[in-house]
Symmetry: C2
DNA sequence: TCTTGACCTCAAGTCGACTTGAAGTAGAAC
DNA sequence: GTTCTACTTCAAGTCGACTTGAGGTCAAGA
């Protein structure tokens, strides 16, 4: 009986209790039982929540993450899915890198207007032709 | 009179006409006039749309982007804002890099279950303690 | 002149991930 | 035994960026 109260889980995982209820509704987590009305959780739920957070950061939707858990609760992560996401991330990273460098340049550029700066214009052309746009899945928002 | 019809702009910019109307409502673009009911645009709108797309990719909201245009239509981009966003992007990039490497490892890892893999567990711990999570602003979704 | 079809307006809907609010309940402290 | 308070349920609201639908208009081609 080392179960954790929902408040404890919320605190340790750094998410509001409402999120835990929401995740339960989505089938992502489940309490071991109740004490009165209050949900009690196995400490393992913390690992699971970490896994969920990780998946979200990697760009998976909650539904996709839900599908990654086998009925027995064990994660059954498709290795091909991981590779594919890693490749997508890699593309995103490269695009964001170009963007970061361009922003830095624009910030330092002495041209009176950005539109008169060649580097900025080149970036703009790239964006217009789809070279920089299309960053793929988004990571979740910071809390 | 080299103005472009809304359909032409939509086609060249690669966005639906509804988006152009929406941007107009938001104060991001404006037609030079109408031909009948149809909006006509100065070709410069394409550059402006590219700038908007670029801003979105960099993680700015439409409202923020709107504020970047001076009343005269010239972009008045705050250099400090650009630097700040570049730094944020840089952090995001580094985080995503860690994540990508971890995903690759997990995809290749021979451990029977990911939970038994040390690398994966370390990643999980990092995620749980907020080291990997919190990627900041999200770039826009791919079309 | 008539038809066609692409545009027009305005309100409402969508999507994902949660949050908020109202009304209820039960364990624990007094 | 009563009160307090943190939980409970369920429905509805929020946010950003658009999209969709209904009903209307007008320039251009036949």
């Amino acid at each position: 009986m080392t179960d954790l109260d929902i408040a404890e889980v919320a605190h340790r995982a750094g998410v509001p209790a409402s999120t835990l209820r929401f995740y339960e509704e989505k089938g992502l987590i489940a309490p071991t039982g109740r004490r009165g009305l209050r949900r009690q959780y196995d400490p393992g739920v913390l690992e699971r929540l970490a896994l969920i957070a990780l998946g979200r950061t990697a760009g998976f939707s909650l539904d996709e993450i839900a599908r990654m858990f086998a009925p027995d609760g064990q994660p059954r992560i498709d290795r091909r899915m991981l590779s594919a996401r890693a490749e997508e991330l890699d593309r995103t990273i490269r695009e964001l890198g170009v963007l970061r460098d361009s922003l830095r340049h624009a910030a330092a550029c002495p041209a009176p207007s950005h539109l008169e700066c060649d580097t900025f214009r080149r970036l703009l052309d790239a964006a217009a032709s789809g070279g920089v746009t299309a960053p793929g899945r988004r990571p979740p928002e910071r809390r």
